[in-house]
């Protein structure tokens, strides 16, 4: 790589990498890509896991390395940052539009976590999500847990289509 002159902005390259499980979103849309900078000739990329057990972190790391290597950046260091914890509030407006267009209802506002005890939520959850197929606001939750840790399963009571919803965290 010594003879190669790199003119591309590494951030622009990192921002093109998509999420392995929500391929309509980039890692930047998802809020997982926290920082891209150059330190002493090394591109340092910071990513944060959505959930502690997110199995996609290894693939995200590899995809970022791959994209940056292919763009001519030989020295790339992908680091994990744990704090502050990822929140669905970090999903960009563009990302929310892409989710909805892809048939997945975007999240509402994440619950505010204060320092004290976390209150019990015993009733059905009050979250709402419009149907991404027909747009009806009349939808019901089938399960708070779906095919990936970050999604719940809902059904539209108007058009009866089941759909996934990125749940607020």
């Amino acid at each position: 790589m010594t003879a190669m002159t790199v003119t591309t902005d590494p951030r622009a390259v990192a921002e093109t990498v998509t999420d392995p499980e929500l391929p309509m979103l980039t890692l930047a849309d998802l809020g997982v890509l926290r920082d891209v900078r150059v330190e002493d000739g090394t591109v340092v990329v910071e990513i944060t896991p959505t959930y502690s057990g997110c199995p996609a972190m290894g693939t995200m790391r590899a995809d970022l390395l791959h994209a940056l290597h292919r763009a001519g950046f030989a020295d790339v260091d992908v680091r994990t940052v744990l704090a502050p914890a990822w929140s669905t509030d970090w999903i960009s407006e563009g990302g929310r539009r892409k989710l909805a267009a892809g048939g997945i209802a975007p999240p509402g506002t994440a619950p505010v976590r204060t320092a004290g005890p976390v209150p019990l939520q015993l009733g059905p959850t009050r979250r709402t999500a419009a149907c991404p197929v027909c747009g009806s606001p009349d939808t019901e939750e089938l399960s708070e847990f779906s095919a990936t840790a970050c999604k719940a399963l809902r059904r539209c009571t108007s058009c009866r289509e089941p759909f996934e919803h990125v749940k607020e965290i």
Binding site: P20, E46, P49, Y51, S52, G53, C54, P55, M57, G58, T59, R61, A62, D63, L65, H66, H69, R70, D77, V78, R79, T80, V81, L82, A83, P84, A85, W86, P111, R113, A115, G116, P117, V118, L120, Q121, L122, L142, S143, E144, F145, S146, A147, A149, L153, I169
Partner: protein, 303 residues
């Protein structure tokens, strides 16, 4: 760059040429790039021991929950249980990696080959007496009602501890806790809704939920007594004294059981720690044999 066209090629390319250990997830070090410096005044041995306590609870409960896969009462619930187990497994990975980062590996490193990452060495190559999980998580699942009562109790205790740990002087532990709180709130509330539904359901579901509570309650006896490690780390501002969460746990569990029309079993008297000091029932070796068997049969396998 045709030789680098797939994700799988890139995965391999991201590593050295020695291949990956076959059983763990070594290509994805959960603490890769995290500053794991131990703040001044904190004993690394104590910090590692404490991370094993919290990590082993999550690992053992995750393993228990996965025993429901293909056997849950409905498909949605199977997915839910797998999600909860995956969150717990993720918490376990972070905590075991944190223990490894401060050099607390017990005898696991003698048995695991060098290519096996610390978190995997701790998970697969420690013997039962080196585990620090509590009896609450190592007990068998029983029926679905008992599984949900146990998950409710375990998630309530863990959530109360993690909520306080967000203020830990160890920044890594504080970050793991802050992330875990968001997940554990989902786990606890999910289990609580099942306990409501079963307790306030049919005669049979009520009977089973009550039997589950009666079986789980005696396991709560040693959860609120600090070990020496926890006492020292609490004084150092790193850990949470388990006695401190007792009131909150009692209040939450009582509220759920009462609303589920269940009788709250008698609270057991506080007992000295058992699992936290390596004293386990015969259930743990059996569970670990399933978890560890294959990795120990082929300790040098790579892919």
């Amino acid at each position: 760059m045709a030789h680098e066209e797939t994700v799988y090629d890139a995965l391999g390319n991201a590593q050295d040429d020695h291949g990956h250990w076959a059983f763990g997830t070594g290509f994805d070090e959960p603490l890769a790039g995290v500053d794991t410096t131990v703040p001044e005044g904190i004993g690394p041995a104590d910090l590692g021991a404490y991370c094993l306590m919290l990590g082993d609870d999550a690992l053992v409960l995750a393993q228990r929950l996965t025993q429901w896969i293909t056997a849950a009462p409905e498909l949605e619930e199977e997915v839910a249980i797998a999600n909860v187990a995956l969150d717990l497994l993720g918490q376990a990975r972070l905590l075991l990696a944190r223990a490894g980062s401060v050099g607390v590996l017990g005898r696991s490193r003698e048995k695991a080959t060098d290519s096996i990452p610390d978190e995997d060495a701790l998970a697969y190559f420690r013997d039962p007496d080196e585990f620090r999980s509590t009896g609450l998580v190592e007990a068998p699942n029983g029926d679905f009602a008992r599984t949900m009562v146990r998950l409710l109790a375990a998630a309530t205790v863990r959530l109360a501890v993690f909520a306080r740990l967000r203020e830990s002087r160890d920044p890594v532990l504080a970050a793991i806790a802050a992330k875990g709180v968001n997940e554990l709130a989902y786990h606890r509330d999910h289990a609580a809704r099942w306990v409501l539904r079963l307790g306030d359901g049919t005669d049979e579901s009520h009977r089973r939920a009550q039997a589950g509570a009666d079986a789980v309650w005696p396991l709560l006896d040693d959860l609120f007594t600090a070990t020496d490690v926890e006492a020292r780390l609490t004084a150092a501002g790193v850990a949470v004294d388990p006695a401190e969460v007792r009131e909150e746990v009692v209040s939450v569990l009582t509220e759920v059981l009462e609303r589920a029309t269940l009788r709250v079993p008698e609270w057991p008297a506080d007992a000295a720690p058992r699992g936290r000091t390596g004293e386990h029932t015969a259930e743990l070796p059996e569970l670990l044999a399933t978890l560890q068997g294959l990795a120990r049969q082929h300790p040098a396998a790579t892919w």
